[in-house]
Protein backbone atom coordinates (compact mmCIF):
# COMPACT_ATOMS: atom_id res chain seq x y z
CA UNK A 1 0.00 0.00 0.00
CA UNK A 2 1.76 3.04 -1.33
CA UNK A 3 0.35 6.52 -1.66
CA UNK A 4 1.97 9.57 -3.25
CA UNK A 5 -0.46 12.44 -2.93
CA UNK A 6 -0.90 16.20 -2.93
CA UNK A 7 -3.77 15.85 -0.44
CA UNK A 8 -3.17 16.05 3.31
CA UNK A 9 -2.20 12.76 4.93
CA UNK A 10 -2.58 11.61 8.52
CA UNK A 11 -1.33 8.75 10.63
CA UNK A 12 -4.89 7.54 11.12
CA UNK A 13 -5.77 7.47 7.42
CA UNK A 14 -2.70 5.36 6.64
CA UNK A 15 -3.23 2.98 9.57
CA UNK A 16 -6.75 2.50 8.22
CA UNK A 17 -5.29 1.16 4.96
CA UNK A 18 -4.10 -1.92 6.87
CA UNK A 19 -6.37 -4.93 6.79
CA UNK A 20 -7.09 -6.10 10.36
CA UNK A 21 -5.14 -9.29 11.07
CA UNK A 22 -5.76 -11.16 14.33
CA UNK A 23 -2.37 -12.89 14.06
CA UNK A 24 -0.63 -9.51 14.38
CA UNK A 25 -0.03 -8.02 17.81
CA UNK A 26 1.82 -4.85 16.78
CA UNK A 27 1.20 -1.81 14.61
CA UNK A 28 4.33 0.35 14.55
CA UNK A 29 3.74 3.87 13.24
CA UNK A 30 6.02 6.69 12.09
CA UNK A 31 4.88 10.18 11.15
CA UNK A 32 7.32 12.71 9.67
CA UNK A 33 6.42 16.40 9.86
CA UNK A 34 7.78 19.66 8.46
CA UNK A 35 10.08 21.29 11.05
CA UNK A 36 10.06 25.07 11.53
CA UNK A 37 13.83 25.31 11.41
CA UNK A 38 16.82 23.64 9.78
CA UNK A 39 20.52 24.36 10.28
CA UNK A 40 19.80 27.60 12.10
CA UNK A 41 17.35 28.94 9.50
CA UNK A 42 13.68 29.55 10.10
CA UNK A 43 11.62 27.42 7.68
CA UNK A 44 8.19 28.62 6.49
CA UNK A 45 7.29 25.70 4.24
CA UNK A 46 8.70 22.87 2.12
CA UNK A 47 7.98 22.13 -1.55
CA UNK A 48 8.17 18.40 -2.30
CA UNK A 49 8.79 17.38 -5.91
CA UNK A 50 8.68 13.78 -7.14
CA UNK A 51 9.40 11.63 -10.18
CA UNK A 52 6.20 9.76 -9.56
CA UNK A 53 6.41 6.74 -11.87
CA UNK A 54 9.87 5.87 -10.57
CA UNK A 55 9.05 6.70 -6.95
CA UNK A 56 6.12 4.26 -7.07
CA UNK A 57 8.41 1.52 -8.40
CA UNK A 58 11.17 2.20 -5.86
CA UNK A 59 8.72 2.34 -2.95
CA UNK A 60 7.09 -0.91 -4.04
CA UNK A 61 10.52 -2.60 -4.18
CA UNK A 62 11.49 -1.22 -0.75
CA UNK A 63 8.23 -2.38 0.84
CA UNK A 64 8.52 -5.83 -0.76
CA UNK A 65 12.08 -6.24 0.55
CA UNK A 66 11.12 -4.99 4.02
CA UNK A 67 8.21 -7.44 4.25
CA UNK A 68 10.44 -10.37 3.30
CA UNK A 69 13.50 -9.33 5.31
CA UNK A 70 11.62 -8.69 8.56
CA UNK A 71 8.67 -11.06 7.98
CA UNK A 72 6.14 -8.27 8.31
CA UNK A 73 2.82 -9.10 6.62
CA UNK A 74 1.64 -5.53 5.97
CA UNK A 75 3.38 -2.20 5.42
CA UNK A 76 1.74 1.02 4.26
CA UNK A 77 3.59 4.15 3.15
CA UNK A 78 2.22 7.59 2.29
CA UNK A 79 4.32 10.55 1.12
CA UNK A 80 2.81 13.97 0.60
CA UNK A 81 3.90 16.12 -2.36
CA UNK A 82 3.57 19.81 -3.19
CA UNK A 83 3.83 22.68 -0.70
CA UNK A 84 3.58 21.79 2.99
CA UNK A 85 3.43 24.28 5.84
CA UNK A 86 5.31 23.74 9.11
CA UNK A 87 3.73 21.06 11.24
CA UNK A 88 2.07 19.30 8.31
CA UNK A 89 2.68 15.59 7.82
CA UNK A 90 5.04 14.71 4.97
CA UNK A 91 5.54 10.97 5.49
CA UNK A 92 3.74 8.12 7.21
CA UNK A 93 5.11 4.58 7.45
CA UNK A 94 3.21 1.87 9.32
CA UNK A 95 3.94 -1.81 9.76
CA UNK A 96 1.62 -4.47 11.12
CA UNK A 97 3.44 -7.51 12.46
CA UNK A 98 3.17 -10.41 14.87
CA UNK A 99 5.55 -8.77 17.38
CA UNK A 100 6.89 -5.25 17.90
CA UNK A 101 10.57 -5.90 17.16
CA UNK A 102 10.22 -6.74 13.48
CA UNK A 103 7.72 -3.91 13.04
CA UNK A 104 10.18 -1.31 14.44
CA UNK A 105 12.99 -2.70 12.27
CA UNK A 106 10.86 -2.75 9.12
CA UNK A 107 9.69 0.86 9.62
CA UNK A 108 13.26 2.03 10.23
CA UNK A 109 14.45 0.18 7.13
CA UNK A 110 11.71 1.66 4.92
CA UNK A 111 12.48 5.23 6.06
CA UNK A 112 16.24 4.78 5.55
CA UNK A 113 15.70 3.36 2.06
CA UNK A 114 13.28 6.15 1.11
CA UNK A 115 15.98 8.68 1.93
CA UNK A 116 18.54 6.77 -0.16
CA UNK A 117 16.58 5.64 -3.20
CA UNK A 118 13.21 7.27 -3.81
CA UNK A 119 13.36 10.22 -6.25
CA UNK A 120 11.73 12.90 -4.10
CA UNK A 121 13.23 16.35 -3.59
CA UNK A 122 12.52 19.14 -1.15
CA UNK A 123 12.97 22.85 -1.35
CA UNK A 124 12.96 24.72 1.92
CA UNK A 125 11.18 28.08 1.82
CA UNK A 126 12.58 30.63 4.29
CA UNK A 127 11.61 34.32 4.38
CA UNK A 128 9.95 35.63 1.17
CA UNK A 129 12.25 35.25 -1.83
CA UNK A 130 14.69 32.96 -0.03
CA UNK A 131 14.65 29.23 -0.71
CA UNK A 132 17.01 26.28 -1.15
CA UNK A 133 16.89 22.78 -2.65
CA UNK A 134 18.32 20.35 -0.09
Amino acid sequence: MILLTREKISLESVVNLLVPDPSCGAVVQFEGKVRNQNEGQSVQAIDYECYETMAQKELAAIVKTAKEKYRVPQIAVAHRLGRLACGETSLVVVAQSAHRQEGFEAVQYVIDQIKKKVPIWKKEIYEPGKEKWL
Binding site: E49, Y51, K57, W121, K122, W133
Partner: protein
Protein backbone atom coordinates in the same frame (compact mmCIF):
# COMPACT_ATOMS: atom_id res chain seq x y z
CA UNK B 1 17.34 7.76 -32.31
CA UNK B 2 15.21 9.87 -30.00
CA UNK B 3 15.33 10.00 -26.21
CA UNK B 4 13.50 12.04 -23.58
CA UNK B 5 15.50 13.62 -20.75
CA UNK B 6 13.60 14.45 -17.56
CA UNK B 7 14.80 17.20 -15.24
CA UNK B 8 13.89 17.74 -11.62
CA UNK B 9 14.32 20.12 -8.70
CA UNK B 10 17.28 22.52 -8.98
CA UNK B 11 18.26 21.19 -12.39
CA UNK B 12 14.74 21.79 -13.74
CA UNK B 13 14.78 25.36 -12.44
CA UNK B 14 18.27 26.01 -13.77
CA UNK B 15 17.40 24.87 -17.30
CA UNK B 16 13.84 26.30 -17.15
CA UNK B 17 12.28 23.09 -18.41
CA UNK B 18 11.00 19.73 -17.19
CA UNK B 19 11.81 17.69 -20.24
CA UNK B 20 14.11 17.77 -23.26
CA UNK B 21 13.66 15.68 -26.38
CA UNK B 22 16.98 14.81 -28.02
CA UNK B 23 18.03 13.20 -31.28
CA UNK B 24 21.22 11.21 -30.57
CA UNK B 25 23.28 8.64 -32.52
CA UNK B 26 22.70 4.91 -31.84
CA UNK B 27 24.94 3.64 -29.05
CA UNK B 28 24.97 6.95 -27.15
CA UNK B 29 25.80 6.59 -23.45
CA UNK B 30 24.18 8.46 -20.57
CA UNK B 31 27.34 10.47 -19.90
CA UNK B 32 27.43 11.68 -23.52
CA UNK B 33 23.94 13.13 -23.24
CA UNK B 34 25.12 15.38 -20.42
CA UNK B 35 27.65 17.19 -22.56
CA UNK B 36 25.03 17.86 -25.21
CA UNK B 37 22.75 19.36 -22.54
CA UNK B 38 25.31 21.33 -20.57
CA UNK B 39 27.75 22.13 -23.38
CA UNK B 40 31.07 22.71 -21.65
CA UNK B 41 32.68 19.29 -20.84
CA UNK B 42 34.18 20.51 -17.55
CA UNK B 43 30.82 21.88 -16.42
CA UNK B 44 29.01 18.73 -17.50
CA UNK B 45 31.56 16.53 -15.64
CA UNK B 46 31.09 18.64 -12.49
CA UNK B 47 27.30 18.42 -12.65
CA UNK B 48 27.31 14.70 -13.41
CA UNK B 49 29.29 13.96 -10.24
CA UNK B 50 26.36 15.19 -8.17
CA UNK B 51 23.73 13.24 -10.15
CA UNK B 52 22.24 9.76 -10.27
CA UNK B 53 20.74 8.47 -13.50
CA UNK B 54 17.68 6.39 -14.31
CA UNK B 55 16.60 4.92 -17.61
CA UNK B 56 12.93 3.96 -17.86
CA UNK B 57 12.60 4.38 -14.08
CA UNK B 58 15.54 2.14 -13.15
CA UNK B 59 18.85 3.40 -11.77
CA UNK B 60 21.77 2.95 -14.18
CA UNK B 61 25.45 3.90 -14.26
CA UNK B 62 26.65 6.85 -16.31
CA UNK B 63 28.23 4.48 -18.86
CA UNK B 64 24.90 2.77 -19.66
CA UNK B 65 23.99 2.69 -23.35
CA UNK B 66 20.71 4.28 -24.39
CA UNK B 67 18.09 2.92 -26.79
CA UNK B 68 15.55 4.60 -29.01
CA UNK B 69 12.56 5.88 -27.02
CA UNK B 70 14.34 5.74 -23.66
CA UNK B 71 13.33 8.03 -20.82
CA UNK B 72 16.50 9.26 -19.12
CA UNK B 73 16.04 10.98 -15.75
CA UNK B 74 18.79 13.16 -14.29
CA UNK B 75 18.41 12.77 -10.56
CA UNK B 76 19.90 15.43 -8.29
CA UNK B 77 20.55 14.51 -4.62
CA UNK B 78 17.26 13.19 -3.25
CA UNK B 79 15.67 14.32 0.01
CA UNK B 80 12.44 12.45 0.68
CA UNK B 81 10.88 12.02 4.10
Amino acid sequence: MNIRVLLFAGLRERLHREEISLEVPAGTKVVQVLSSIFGDPAESAKISRSLLFAVNQNYVRSDATLNDGDELALIPPIAGG
